[in-house]
């Protein structure tokens, strides 16, 4: 950990490059960070509200679009963060082969850059909701520690995945389908409470549900009752991070041979 602190400038330099990498040479620049989620949001609202006319009783007077938006940005931060983090070591193979530095910084920089970009978009969404949809309660501040834990979960998954990716080149092929299934298994487009009992019980085991649901409940209703599932998921996240980092650090001396 002390060695990581000594490398903080390198981390910041890598982070800065990661953020800039997204938009270097592009015309739209940061606009793209907001266009993609907005487009998804538009499609989901169109499909579920206009075409299928889905009614979610738990929403009360809150609009469907706000309901989805509050979950979509954290989800995208997680998904994109893990996907970019998994690629991070391999994408920087020139550095790994020639320069001595803690390889985990590459993963942290990639995931952090994604969270910075997506959560900036999320802040914008919250601001708009605060201005046009009747304001937010002070409870919204509780979102911050929960998102921090979500960030930690993304780091853990990315550490584990990026180490595997170095050895098994087709690992990232798995991620696309995996995230597609996970997206529908996570209560982004629906609340867990809407599900029939048995399905809700199963999906409650999805740790992501225990991040998305409280964040949305806090932002939308200003209240949320902690469940055993949620507390267990958060504890598991800490444990998972420690394990994934151990896995990564054990394999990282061998990256140079394989990237």
């Amino acid at each position: 950990m002390r060695s990581l602190w000594n490398h903080r400038w390198l981390f910041l330099a890598l982070l800065e490059r990661e953020v800039r990498n997204r938009y270097v040479g592009s015309v739209g620049g940061w606009l793209w960070a907001i266009v993609h989620p907005l487009l998804l949001l538009g499609i989901y609202t169109m499909v579920f509200r206009t075409i299928f006319r889905v009614e979610i009783p738990q929403l009360g007077e809150h609009p469907f679009v706000a309901f989805v938006a509050l979950a979509l940005w954290p989800w995208l931060a997680f998904q994109e963060g893990v996907q970019r983090g998994v690629q991070a070591v391999q994408a920087n193979s020139a550095l790994v082969r020639k320069v001595s530095f803690p390889h985990e910084l590459l993963v942290y920089a990639a995931v952090t850059a994604t969270f910075v970009v997506q959560l900036a978009g999320y802040a914008l969404v919250l601001t708009i909701l605060a201005l046009f949809a009747g304001g937010l309660s002070a409870m919204v501040l509780l979102i911050v520690p929960i998102l921090a834990l979500l960030f930690l979960l993304a780091l853990a998954c990315a550490l584990f995945g990026s180490a595997l990716q170095v050895f098994l080149r087709d690992f990232d092929q798995l991620l696309g389908p995996l995230f597609m299934v996970l997206f529908y298994a996570t209560p982004v487009l629906y609340p867990l409470a809407l599900l029939p009992g048995w399905l809700g019980d199963i999906l409650a085991f999805n740790p992501l549900a225990q991040f998305i649901e409280p964040v949305r409940a806090l932002a939308l209703f200003g209240s949320w009752t902690p469940s055993t599932f949620a507390l267990a998921s958060w504890a598991a996240t800490l444990l998972l991070f420690v394990l994934a980092r151990g896995f990564f650090l054990r394999l990282s001396p061998h990256f140079e041979d394989f990237v």
Partner: protein, 406 residues
């Protein structure tokens, strides 16, 4: 603490897992994760023990694939050894590839910051040294252009410039001097000499024995993954060159990379009949006879190239036997002798080298090189290197025919 070596390697060995197919990689992953050694390995290094103290300079030499790069990576901390231990005390600046941290889409200036961070500089330190870096790299306006528009020489200049401002305790470089143009090579050499004079420690990997002898006190010869020879750089490089000469002559059957029948090689080089070992002192305007014999593995008539250079390497004159249609005389089936005379050699007093290379019969490839020191004695008040034939005339009025001169 001052007594501690900067680097101490004890019994260092390195194995690389051999894994080609996906299944192999999966199995290797499993073995490495469990902390086992991989079953199929390539042994790159065995049992290397070395110490490098502050203020020393060590040259690493060896054939391609001998394990030099792996050893440098281990010392730099890019990879961990499979066996043995590495101790490092002090700040190490490793330039295993100049510009490894550069991103092609960013400008030179933007790239400086990440590259410097990789060498351990903080942002504030980099900002403070930016002017020095840009001055050393001396690439002018290009610093604002994306790196992808740079020539490889410019990338190297910028990469080395960053390292020069970092002032590491130990500088590790891999063939830095092989790239970059003449003036930049001189600049780098001068910087390294200054760095060594200030007590810096250097580890240089090079195929240029000239650079090793010039910049390193000690040399380590890595042969097939082992430390074959370690000591004074002049001794080690001489052994190394001798090994290559012998190998080229086919005396040593070991090693499979020699061409069939060996290579054309210069056996010896004499100035005015004296052996090349001692420098020849020659009064100005005396005759110079350059002679020697050439080994021809296939018995065909080889060529010979002879050059005269100033002590700093500035070329003065060079010629190839082929140009004049000269054919060395056969001594036996595989040996040819030559002699070249420069009557009344017009060099001014100073130190020069006569260099000669064996060439193939087609006059296309240079093989080895031998060189002899030549000290021209006497005194002359003229300037330059060489006395040009000249005649002073009566002189005419400057307004008239300029074309009369010459």
């Amino acid at each position: 603490m001052a007594q501690l070596p900067l680097i101490r390697l004890a019994g260092v060995g390195k194995e690389y897992p051999l894994a080609a197919s996906g299944g192999d990689r999966l199995r290797t992953l499993w073995q490495l994760w469990r902390g086992r050694r991989a079953t199929h390995v390539f042994r790159a290094l065995s049992d290397i023990s070395l110490e490098l103290h502050r203020g020393q300079s060590l040259g690493l030499i060896g054939e391609n694939g001998a394990g030099k790069s792996t050893l440098m990576k281990i010392i730099a901390g890019v990879v961990d050894p499979t066996q043995g231990t590495v101790e490092r005390h002090g700040r190490i600046g490793a330039l295993l590839e100049l510009g490894a941290g550069f991103h092609p889409d960013y400008t030179g200036r933007e790239n400086v910051f990440l590259a410097a961070a990789l060498l351990g500089l903080t942002r504030a330190e980099t900002t403070a040294r930016l002017d020095d870096i840009l001055a050393f790299a001396d690439i002018g306006e290009h610093i604002e252009q994306p790196i992808k528009h740079y020539s490889s020489g410019m990338v190297v200049r910028l990469g080395f410039a960053i390292a020069t401002t970092m002032k590491p305790d130990l500088l590790i470089t891999d063939e830095v001097l092989a790239v970059g143009d003449e003036s930049f090579q001189k600049k780098c050499s001068a910087w390294i000499e200054g760095y060594l004079a200030d007590g810096g420690t250097l580890m240089l990997c090079s195929h240029s024995m000239y650079h090793i002898q010039k910049l390193c006190q000690k040399a380590a010869w890595i042969h097939e993954g082992r430390l074959f020879c370690h000591g004074d750089s002049a001794d080690v490089t001489r052994e190394y060159l001798a090994y290559h000469e012998e190998r080229a002559q086919g005396d040593r059957p070991a090693g499979g990379s020699a061409q069939p029948g060996g290579l054309y090689a210069l056996r010896n080089l004499r100035l005015n009949g004296a052996s090349a070992q001692a420098p020849l002192a020659l009064p100005m305007a005396s005759d110079l006879h350059v002679s020697g014999s050439i080994h021809s593995p296939d018995g065909r008539v080889p060529g010979i190239a002879v050059g005269v250079v100033k002590a700093d390497g500035t070329p003065i004159y060079g010629l190839v036997s082929d140009m004049d249609g000269y054919r060395p005389r056969a001594v036996d089936a595989q040996t040819y002798a030559f002699e070249l005379t420069f009557p009344a050699l017009p060099l001014l007093p100073g130190r020069y080298y006569i260099r000669a290379h064996a060439m193939d019969p087609e006059g296309l490839r240079l093989y080895d090189q031998l060189s002899c020191r030549l000290d021209i004695t006497g005194s002359a008040r003229e300037l330059g290197m060489c006395r040009l034939a000249h005649v002073w005339g009566e002189g005419v009025d400057a307004d008239c025919a300029v074309d009369e001169r010459g």
